[in-house]
């Protein structure tokens, strides 16, 4: 890359992020199409326009046409739309409950998804049962779509386990704390899917901060080289704890893909319909043997990074206010109302359902028992290990010595 082209991209990016308008797919790829797209991007740059933020619903809830992606949601019914709204409301309610439980001392930590509901529900609902998901530690909405009991997500944050569910039960892998590691697991899994001759797809979630990690770059390399059926779903929520995306990259993240030889697209991550459409497109590519895709869901983390974080130290309230106007739930509600897809009764019923969910989660967490002391030694190895056996026996003897003393 020349200095000139770097500068050009940077200026396009800053101009574009202010504009934030909907546009066409700017997928970097190889071959003749790549040439056409490069030309298109150059033209766009000359006009100072944002190179593509796929949007189907405006923040006001107005449905806008998109020649490339409309077909991926053409069959969607009013019932489906209400379902997406319900998913987002319940996920937000669950998340709020977990945050409250952390404040009450019931959880050691919580990573809220507030603001990212559309990115997660849209992508999560695009998946088939046989697809496999590799999440970070914030994909509560995707877990919801996979049918993972939300209370299972809380075990790790309460400190009763380091996982909490069977990954193969819902094809939803365990949360991964080390940033970006799971993108390689997803790639390897997808390589396995291809070897098996299956037409399942794999999706790897990660954040804008993770895009700086070597593992993410390596997963791009491996997936491209082996043409693995994996969708890289980056939720760019603008902040990696206190570091803005500008500290991670000088080019829009979705453009990274072109350097690896597969398409990247930026979607309005607060638009559940657009996220659904774009993810379906990417999954279909994977199923059809066309290899990986990078989807950058452009969204915003409305809360703190985790309950240990204090965003007032590094960002202004007006930034959040600007994004609140683009709230994913509000946007779909406006659309449902304007299209007369939902009445007061629906919203009231949903409100009641979300209260029931909150209550269930609260009670489940409080009832969650501490694990047995001997869990320390369980499952360290599948085939056993002499040292673990020895230390377990020592621990048992030590514990028993207290019991004997109490007995006396």
């Amino acid at each position: 890359m020349t200095v000139e082209s770097t500068a050009a991209r940077t200026s396009r990016r800053s101009a574009g992020s202010k504009a934030g308008t909907s546009g066409t797919k700017a997928a970097g790829t190889t071959g003749t199409k790549g040439t056409t797209r490069t030309t298109a991007r150059k033209a766009a740059a000359a006009k100072g326009a944002e190179p593509g933020l796929v949007q189907l619903l405006t923040p006001e809830g107005k449905r806008v046409k998109n020649a490339e992606y409309d077909k991926y949601v053409s069959g969607i019914t009013a019932d489906d739309l209400r379902g997406l709204y319900r998913d987002m409301v319940l996920t937000r309610r669950f998340d709020a409950e977990a945050t409250a439980l952390q404040r009450q001392g019931e959880l050691g930590l919580w990573a809220s998804l507030l603001g990212q509901e559309a990115a997660q529900i849209g992508s999560g609902r695009a998946l088939r049962d046989d697809d496999y998901v590799f999440p970070t530690y914030r994909e509560h909405g995707v877990a919801w779509c996979r049918g993972v009991d939300p209370t299972n997500l809380l075990g790790m944050f309460r400190g009763v386990n380091n996982g909490g569910w069977d990954p193969n039960g819902n094809n939803f892998h365990l949360y991964t704390i080390v940033i970006g590691s799971q993108t390689l697991h997803a790639t390897g899994y997808a390589m396995g899917v291809a070897k098996d001759g299956a037409d399942s797809a794999v999706i790897a979630y990660f954040g804008d901060g993770a895009s700086s990690q070597g593992d993410v770059a390596e997963s791009f390399t491996f997936s491209a080289v082996y043409n693995a059926p994996v969708v890289f779903f980056c939720q760019n929520n603008q902040w990696a704890i206190s570091e803005p995306t500008e500290k991670q990259t000088r080019v829009p993240l979705y453009q990274r893909a072109q350097g690896y030889g597969f398409p990247g697209v930026r979607v309005d991550g607060n638009d559940v319909l657009a996220t659904l459409a774009v993810t379906r497109w990417a999954l279909e590519r994977a199923r059809a043997g066309e290899g990986p895709t990078l989807v950058e869901a452009y969204t915003y983390r409305m809360g703190a990074h985790t309950t240990s974080d204090d965003p007032t130290r590094y960002r202004h309230d007006d930034e959040r206010a600007a994004w609140e106007a683009k709230d994913p739930l509000l946007r779909l509600r406006r659309h449902l109302e304007a299209a007369h897809h939902a009445d007061e009764g629906f919203f009231a019923e949903l409100e009641a359902e979300s209260e029931t969910l909150g209550k269930r989660v609260r009670e489940a967490v409080r009832a969650m028992p501490d694990p047995d002391h001997f869990a320390i030694f369980e499952n360290v190895y599948a085939d056993g290990h002499a040292l673990v056996d020895e230390e377990r026996a020592q621990f048992a003897a030590y514990q028993a010595s207290f019991a004997d003393a109490e007995g006396v």
């Binding site: 386990n161 380091n162 996982g163 069977d166 990954p167 193969n168 039960g169 892998h173 365990l174 991964t176 080390v178 590691s181 993108t183 390689l184 697991h185 997803a186 790639t187 390897g188 899994y189 997808a190 390589m191 396995g192 899917v193 070897k195 098996d196 070597g214 593992d215 390596e218 997963s219 390399t221 491996f222 080289v225 369980e378 499952n379 360290v380 190895y381 599948a382 085939d383 290990h385 002499a386 040292l387 673990v388």
Partner: protein, 325 residues
């Protein structure tokens, strides 16, 4: 069928057998395909099993191990090669934070049958990062198993057992012994993977070692015998788990122990052995457990490695010091 073969060839034959027996077994790494590996350990495998079973990977160690984890999650049994010991560190994160912990984190629902092959150790006149012995760094991590054969027969059988294990196994190959030949009986019933073996009986002192240092200890025992000293040589074979029962049995007989490894002595596996054997055998020991190994310094340039690595004199010096108590 017994056949005399070099240690590298024994691993090759073992991989071949595993690839034949189980379509889920994969061999992955940099240059393992057409080239057959920089040490030719995987020679001919891609030709016979194809490039979807014997996979040349991009030059990215974290990627190799990370994708192997994903393949294991899909039901495959990858055997990955890290080209040289000092190159494992880009993959260390994946090995330690992911591979080692996946089984425990999933409460036993997920198995990680991944073998990480690492040619290790010095003595071949190589450049920087090509001669290290990082086994203790892995042995410290729960969830990993660490083994190192010292001869062709063990190399063959321990690879079979490592591949069959549902736990991740770090398989350290003593690269300076790759060309040493020994009888390999491919029909034999092998010893358990993690059991130490007495390779020379003795009564005055126990020399405990694994991988490349076993041969040195056998040579030391032969030299000591000429001076009328009877040394027992124990091939530990497995660093994690470590067969302390066998070490204890030998020390209860000889009452003296010298541990020999190439890795730095400080915080090395010899330290763990010394501590545990002191606990187990305090009243049997006639001398403190002594250690012979590398120094707390970066592995030196090749022209200095003879001074860094344990040799016959250093082992015999430790033997003399122990016997002098």
């Amino acid at each position: 069928m017994a056949e005399k073969m070099a240690l590298a060839k024994a691993i090759n034959e073992s991989l071949r057998r595993a690839l034949e027996a189980d379509p889920k077994v994969l061999v992955m790494g940099e240059d393992v395909g057409k080239l057959g590996g920089v040490f030719r350990v995987t020679d001919g495998l891609q030709k016979d099993f194809g490039d979807s079973r014997v996979i040349d990977t991009p030059l990215a160690e974290s990627g190799i191990v990370g994708t192997a984890i994903g393949l294991a999650l899909r039901g495959y049994r990858p055997v990955v090669e890290i080209q040289f010991d000092g190159f494992v560190f880009p993959a260390y994160d994946q090995i330690v934070t992911q591979l080692a912990k996946m089984h425990a984190r999933s409460l036993g629902k997920v198995k990680m049958p991944v073998v990480v092959r690492i040619p290790y150790g010095g003595g071949i006149g190589a450049v920087e990062h090509h001669s290290e012995s990082p086994e203790a760094l892995f042995a410290h991590v729960a969830g990993l198993k660490i083994v190192s054969p010292s001869n062709a027969s063990d190399a063959y059988w321990m690879m079979q057992q490592a591949i069959q294990s549902d736990d991740p196994v770090i398989y350290f190959e003593p690269k300076r012994r790759y060309w040493d030949k020994a009888e390999v009986d491919t029909e034999a019933i092998p010893a358990p993977l993690h059991r130490a073996q007495v390779v020379r009986e003795g009564t005055d002192l126990t020399l405990a070692a694994y991988g490349p240092m076993v041969k040195l200890c056998q040579e030391a025992a032969a030299a000591a015998a000429e001076e009328g000293k009877s040394l027992e040589v124990l091939d530990l074979r497995s660093v994690s788990p470590l067969d302390f029962d066998s070490v204890q049995a030998s020390v209860e007989k000889t009452r003296r122990l010298v541990v020999v490894h190439e890795a730095p002595v400080f915080f090395g596996s010899g330290a763990e052995i010394a501590a545990r054997i002191t606990e187990r055998c305090f009243y049997h020991l006639e001398a403190p457990v002594l250690r012979v190994g590398g120094y707390h310094a970066p592995y030196p340039p090749a022209r200095l490695e003879e001074s860094y690595l344990p040799d016959l004199d250093r082992v015999l010096d430790a033997v003399d010091r122990s016997l002098a108590y």
